[in-house]
């Protein structure tokens, strides 16, 4: 019922084309939080009003003639078919308007482009289909994936998206930045082109493989800002969101400290219970494997093999470990997973009812023999 009401309200709004800014309906560009995004908003409003104004003039004239110069009202056609002065005027006026628009646009453009004097740098790498953040100054480095509940909801058809908080717009590990600092971002990609867009910051920038693009921001107010990948990057392009949390310098410093501690801590390789392994395995699977092998382990016919019932999965453990660490030409290597993560995901794919396998064992972290000890 609520839906129908909203629908009706929406239909009325469209029908009358009224820009009534109702709280529920975002009709206009968001102003954003940074100075640059405010400048862009102002530019947007300027052009918008110019267009509205010209539109009213042109459409007004058309509707006036439709009404008054109708044959059915007995209007006789005039015979003029050119008028040099008028034609010159309506060439020159738009030119002047355009010049007037170009000036503030150029100013904002120059401001956006200036990455000089930044106080810290973050390297952002787009990957199919998540973001990899590397703080070039402090050494913090992590991956940011779509959060588990959105992942389950859009893949599993069992969780209603309306019940998921920030459906498709939240991540497991958000990007954290301090406020009021000029932060330089360097963008690149490990595979195809991605694009990093947080509307509140006012811009998006492409992440091109093999090249670096730069952009900067300085956020004045603490808060959570959300965005998405905006360059088509394959099947899960719609599922690689961005979350930026801006916090006070003090909080930020604390965050860096604890994050680094965790990052450098040795993984806990002690034995775990079956349930623990399965729970951890499920989240490792959702982050790393689900994009290709799917939530039900059935894969995608013709592209990605099924894990359900696969002899490789349910067979010997050691070959499976070796396979995951080495990867193939078609499947990336997962040497980056820590021993406990690898153990968990293997236990998971061998035993999960969701995947459809039931070997009935658990693989403990200690069972993982390193093929590569590179932890990168």
């Amino acid at each position: 019922m609520k839906k129908i009401k909203q629908l009706f309200a929406g239909a009325m709004l469209t029908t009358f084309g009224l820009p009534i800014a109702q709280a529920d309906y975002a009709l206009n560009l968001m102003e954003g939080v940074t100075k640059v995004s405010n400048d862009i908003y102002d530019l947007h409003m300027l052009i918008l009003w110019i267009c509205v104004f010209i539109g009213i003039a042109v459409f007004g004239t058309i509707f006036y003639s439709i009404y008054h110069h109708r044959k059915s009202k007995g209007h006789e056609a005039a015979h003029f078919h050119e008028h040099t002065t008028v034609e010159i005027i309506w060439t020159i006026i738009p030119t002047i308007i355009l010049v007037a628009m170009a000036i503030p646009a150029t100013k904002t453009m120059l401001e956006l482009d200036d990455v000089q004097e930044s106080e810290m740098s973050i390297k952002v790498t787009g990957k199919q289909w998540y973001w990899d953040y590397q703080y070039l100054d402090s050494g913090v480095h992590f991956e940011s994936h779509l959060d588990e509940i959105s992942e389950k909801s859009h893949r599993g058809h069992t969780i209603d998206p309306h019940t998921v908080p920030n459906y498709l717009l939240s991540v497991d590990r958000p990007l954290v930045i301090p406020i009021n600092k000029k932060i330089r971002f360097v963008f690149t990609s490990a595979d195809v082109i991605h694009s990093w867009w947080v509307p509140d910051l006012g811009w998006k920038k492409d992440a091109n493989p093999g090249f670096i693009n730069e952009a900067w921001t300085s956020v004045p107010t603490p808060g959570v800002y959300r965005g998405q990948c905006t360059e088509l990057c394959g099947r899960d392009h719609g599922f690689m969101p961005i979350v930026v949390i801006a916090m006070n310098q003090g909080d930020y410093d604390n965050w860096v400290k604890t994050t680094l501690e965790k990052q450098n801590a040795k993984p806990d390789l002690s034995d775990q219970s079956h349930e623990q392994l399965m729970a951890n395995g499920s989240s490792v699977y959702l982050k790393n494997c689900v994009a290709c092998h799917q939530i039900d382990g059935k894969g995608v016919v013709g592209n990605y093999p099924a894990l359900r019932g696969s002899a490789k999965v349910t067979g010997g453990v050691d070959p499976l470990i070796g396979f995951l660490q080495a990867g193939t030409s078609k499947m990336p290597s997962f040497a980056k997973l820590k021993d406990n993560e690898l153990a968990a995901v293997i236990t998971y794919i061998r035993n999960s009812p969701d995947i459809g396998n039931k070997v009935g064992d658990e693989i403990q972290p200690k069972a993982i023999t390193p093929v590569y000890d590179d932890d990168e």
Partner: protein
């Protein structure tokens, strides 16, 4: 303005459909071949055969019609316009590859080497790379290679093509002055020079692949080098074949000073191929 009272309008055409079928079969074959399917090559061959039969048939039809005087002045102009605009489209096709060469030499390679607007690219991704030309890129794609010098076979080829342009024009003068002997000698010279060019290029490629380590896979230098010279070489072959047909028809006594569209079209095409080569020689070999 043309007098289109008697503008010749053919009323039924089977060759075009056959041409389409030939092209489609060839391309489907080629695509299958690239995908590693075994029906690829036979399909490709079949398509090509259809295409050859079509070309022979269609050209014979056109030349019979032309010789029996069905084409008036207006039709001739239409054909000439068709050819002109076709050559223009070819110019645009080559422009893409020249543009690519320009872009990579002046923009992408310097950027990768840390010059210009994208200094951070080198600093972060390719710290060991220095931009030079020729290059196979920061990944050293395709391994070590030697670039192709300008003053060996390429220079000889320049002379060959330039003189073939002269002989072609000389043949045209012969045709206009009704000196059939000069026409035929000129055409023989042109065609021979053309095939000689192709032969030299084959040697050049052979040397590149076997001795210089220079292949299509040698990074951006190899890519642009072989793409530009390869497509040009292909055009020389086509041009030489067309000129051979023209030669054959001249020997049969076709063409008059007033009516010789086929000759003219072939000659235009040849000169176009010539000019492209000059561009290649300057931008690919010399600079």
């Amino acid at each position: 303005m043309s007098t289109n009272n008697a503008y010749y309008i053919p009323h039924k055409a089977t060759w075009p459909v056959m041409a389409t079928a030939g092209l489609l079969t060839t391309l489907v074959g080629f695509a299958n071949y690239l995908n590693g399917s075994s029906i690829g090559s036979p399909l490709m061959m079949l398509g090509f055969a259809i295409f050859i039969v079509m070309v022979a048939g269609w050209f014979t039809l056109q030349s019979t019609e032309s010789e029996s005087g069905m084409y008036n002045h207006g039709v001739g102009i239409s054909y000439r316009m068709g050819m002109m605009w076709f050559i223009f489209s070819e110019v645009m096709f080559f422009a893409v590859f020249f543009g690519t060469l320009w872009y990579t030499r002046n923009l992408s390679v310097p950027w990768l080497g840390g010059e210009g607007a994208k200094a951070a690219t080198k600093a972060i991704l390719w710290t060991n790379y220095t931009a030079v030309w020729p290059t196979n890129g920061p990944g050293n794609v395709g391994g070590h290679f030697e670039p192709m010098g300008a003053f060996g076979l390429p220079f000889i080829n320049t002379l060959l093509l330039l003189s073939s342009g002269v002989t072609c024009t000389w043949a045209h003068h012969g045709l206009l002055a009704k000196k059939r002997d000069q026409l035929i000698k000129g055409l023989i010279a042109t065609v021979s020079l053309g095939f000689l060019f192709v032969l030299c290029q084959a040697f050049e490629y052979h040397e590149a692949y076997t001795e210089m380590g220079l292949t299509l896979g040698s990074g951006i230098y190899g890519s642009t080098f072989f793409m530009l010279t390869g497509f040009h070489g292909f055009h020389v072959c086509v041009g030489a074949i067309i000129l051979s047909v023209v030669l054959f028809r001249s020997a049969k006594g076709h063409f008059t000073p007033e009516n010789h569209f086929a000759f003219e079209a072939a000659a235009w095409y040849w000169h176009f191929v010539d000019v492209v080569w000059l561009g290649l020689f300057v931008f690919v070999y010399l600079m």
